[in-house]
Symmetry: C2
Subunit: 342 residues, 2 copies
């Protein structure tokens, strides 16, 4: 069973939701399904618009950059921050890039000067740095960036709904295969009214990800411009209904508790976390271990799939995921097995 | 049941293949799966490289244009030709656009002068114009374009594997949800050695669709650069195994026969085809009908989902799909029902 930060293991019920006969992308059934999904995100997370893309999370990041980037500032503390930088470079007029040490958390006091001195009008940052399990203080940073007149774009691919939405994110991006507990293949982009104004005034550098096309089709029919990944939309709907039954606040708490449990376990085995204190991720934990591949191999023989850290600590740390209903449910069991092979 | 040109109705076995537990995108299992799929396309269709994208077919067209377009010539005879034009415009240094009447077929004698006089180094054309069911003579045109030094990019989203691959296509694009009989969400791009040389020498205008990133990851591990749509890859593998058991040549014939059967039926009811004689599509038929929505409504009450034509004839013609195992299998039954409501 996958205990990676993502794709996460998916519940049977969600997998089986993919089996329903296909509906057409230009049908009333699609209007009902796609409309329900997009509105769910808008209503529950207070965004003006939301579009669900047939792409991985990286595609949704490209969508944001191709439609919204201008003079960009990218803050980074790891592999996924650097990926945001690469994407922003391709679509921005100018890019400033500031990186802090991997494992450390991004917070306002560390980047305040950068924000104040920046000439950027667009901020890019990662909410939850998946490579080493660090939850950045995206809200603290975005709130200040907005005061300074920037549009804030937050990559929460491995964060939400394991962590709450930073209120000051103008553009909020996630994907299906992490804490949502859905198979991979859907990127989700949510936009504030400021973000909508920006993309309406700019020419998209992508056709496939052109938000004006998404808006035109949505206004007309609540359908997407290109054929969506219909069976994955079915799975997403089932997952959101389960999430709705539990409640978002409670779901955030479940992840916070799972993170605390994983860290208590690691600490009891004297295994150090890569993440700085105060910035521990609720959806995954990366811990130092002398020979990651040996531990990962031992866990595979027990049926659990873990992965090494990414970036600077790739050869020194192991990551475990605790995101989505199924991983949360079976976390104790996995930790027990881990205890047995350490 | 869907009898649209695509998404087509998908067989139970292919739908259920999506239910298998997820594997990780950086695992040996993914290497085996993704490698098998890409090699299948390369080997069976004689291409140098193939990549399977988490996107709709439109995403795969964007991939081609963002990596390969330069001085482009776009030939069109309908809605999807114009879409190619829109995509080419975004990524080309210059674009020439030539359109013939909708319903008419593109063939060498009609565009020879255009090819000879063109300053383009890249040709874009649609193989099977889905909007009105016209199969263009892509091979005749591409062979000549190659003689003239152009790289040939062919959109076969609704064509292959209902129609054979044009041998002179350097870049050949299809998607999962048409004649392959797989749910939507996968774009497939196949490349000749000339196409590989071109993208290696050019800078990609997309990060998500950057073919150099696909190649780097594939060379290293036969894995894609971003998380793929894993459950759709499962479905694709099952569909290709079924296709393999039947044989590609036989599968093309099955579609040719289904097309002939549909046309014979329409002709016996004195319903005129939109497609010019000699250019009839093997995967769908568009026929004139005084009130398309009325007929479509009547068929829906019988459980069959048809769609109107797109473009110039949207208000005057109806389309029926005959692509993929399931539609082929149930074509007689659908035509009988259609006969009952005409």
């Amino acid at each position: 069973m996958l205990f990676s930060p993502g794709p996460v293991a998916v519940e049977e019920e969600v997998l089986r939701a993919q089996d329903k006969p296909l509906i057409h992308h230009r049908s009333e059934e699609m209007t009902a399904l796609y409309g329900w999904l997009c509105e769910w995100f808008c209503n529950r997370l207070s965004f003006e618009e939301c579009y669900i893309l047939a792409s991985s999370g990286t595609g949704a990041l490209e969508c944001a950059a191709a439609n919204l980037a201008h003079r960009s500032l990218v803050l980074s503390n790891g592999v996924f921050g650097r990926k945001l930088h690469a994407i922003a470079q391709l679509f921005s007029r100018s890019v400033e890039f500031v990186e802090i040490e991997e494992g450390k958390g991004l917070c306002l006091e560390r980047v305040e000067d950068v924000l104040v001195q920046s000439k950027a009008d667009t901020l890019f940052m990662v909410h939850n740095e998946t490579s080493v399990g660090v939850l950045n203080d995206a809200e603290g940073i975005c709130a200040r960036a907005k005061e300074l007149g920037m549009l804030t774009i937050v990559d929460s691919i491995s964060g939400w709904p394991g962590a709450a939405r930073p209120k000051s994110a103008d553009v909020f991006i996630t994907s299906s295969q992490k804490a949502l507990g859905v198979p991979p293949g859907l990127g989700i982009i949510m936009l504030s009214s400021e973000a909508v104004k920006r993309y309406e005034a700019q020419q998209s550098k992508s056709y496939y990800f052109d938000l004006k096309r998404f808006k035109d089709f949505y206004k007309k029919s609540k359908q997407p411009p290109s054929t969506p990944a219909v069976t994955l939309l079915y799975a997403l709907k089932t997952a959101l209904e389960r999430l709705e039954a539990v409640g978002l606040e409670r779901y955030y708490e479940m992840h916070a508790k799972a993170g605390a449990k994983a860290r208590a376990f690691l600490s009891s085995h004297a295994l150090g976390l890569v993440a700085e204190k105060g910035f521990e991720s609720p959806t995954l934990s990366a811990f130092f271990y002398p020979s990651p591949q040996k531990l990962i191999g031992a866990m595979r023989t027990k049926g659990y799939f873990l992965v090494p850290a990414k970036g600077k600590y790739a050869a020194q740390a192991v990551r475990i995921g605790h995101a989505g209903f199924r991983q949360l449910e079976r976390l104790d069991e996995m930790l027990e097995a881990l205890g047995g092979v350490l």
